[in-house]
Symmetry: C2
Subunit: 194 residues, 2 copies
């Protein structure tokens, strides 16, 4: 087993699209999204830059930084796995603020940084990397499921390694449900300090 | 040997800084650079967006895309290795359009996508990934070294895997020669299509 992998490419499908145009990260199902260089038109996470938060402990909170987290991308398979791990019947993508849910990608959250998603329209998203589960998203799940204690914490542990990806718009275009998407993974090689 | 590597961090030094403010990619030595979210102030590669070129065969040439190639980052060690491989006495960073040359990084070109460079001032650069050698840069070397044929092609082969990195400004700030920089590498895991 070598520590290098050449370019890989495969096709997947857009299973769902969601827009967070309310007053928090929770999104709602839509039939298409308009991707612009600043992100998803009308979405709470749109912007060329953003303010840092708890995910960037190396910055004072509120530091202006380039926005590499314009979109949240999940997979049908990982949503189902997390629901099973939490012991709940269903986990809706919008509860945890998804923008794009893909079908046909194994281990979506493990797609490496720099991976490109080429949508049928010509729109392209570049992946920054995996997302980390947080209790805020877990809390949104808890609000939708009655009679279960501690679902916020349960989400953090159940979603570890399968909370999906974040990324940014590389090329503008529209995306529609059922569109094909080609996933292109750059050559990989592990780096170890010698 | 597992296929996963945890977070790694180490310190390096800014050995040289260069600005490409002429009419092509060739840069000139400067004592400091002003990093803005759009890139290096005054540099030919600055911009929130850019036009695609030969490096993006998946786009019609001239397609507007977000600029993930604002800066060219090289290392003292790889510059020396490439010079030896080409059989030339010296390879100046500015000939091939470097912006930042680092000292103290082993195998710089292999640093993975998403790696962050934290400069002493607070400026932060995020790495998109490794750069590919091209004959234009090789041609600039040839113009500086008399009496040697084919240096443009020789560069392409000698610089393979050691042409440095490209990246973009995540947080604004100034960078000066001799500044310390902390390199932070995210956890790595190889992705293979099953």
């Amino acid at each position: 087993m070598t520590e290098a992998v050449p370019v890989q490419k495969f096709d997947a499908t857009v299973a769902g699209l969601y827009l967070a145009d309310g007053d928090d990260f929770v999104s709602r199902s839509v039939s298409r999204l308009d991707l612009e260089l600043a992100g998803i038109s009308g979405d709470i996470h749109a912007g060329i830059s953003r303010k840092s938060g708890a995910r960037e402990p190396w910055y004072p909170r509120g530091t202006i930084m380039r926005n590499e987290r314009q979109l949240s991308i999940l997979s049908v398979a990982e949503l189902a796995e997390v629901a099973i791990a939490m012991g709940i019947d269903r986990l809706e993508a919008e509860w945890i603020g998804a923008n794009i849910v893909l079908d046909g990608v194994t281990d979506l959250s493990r797609l490496p940084p720099r991976t490109q998603l080429f949508f049928a329209s010509g729109a392209v998203v570049r992946i920054d990397g995996d997302n980390g589960p947080c209790r805020d998203a877990g809390g949104a799940i808890a609000r939708n499921i009655a009679g279960r204690e501690g679902l916020d914490r349960a989400f953090v542990s159940a979603a570890k390694g399968r909370r999906g990806l974040v990324g940014w718009v590389e090329r503008e275009g529209k995306v529609a449900v059922d569109d094909e998407v080609t996933v292109r993974i750059w050559p990989q090689k592990l780096y170890r300090i010698k």
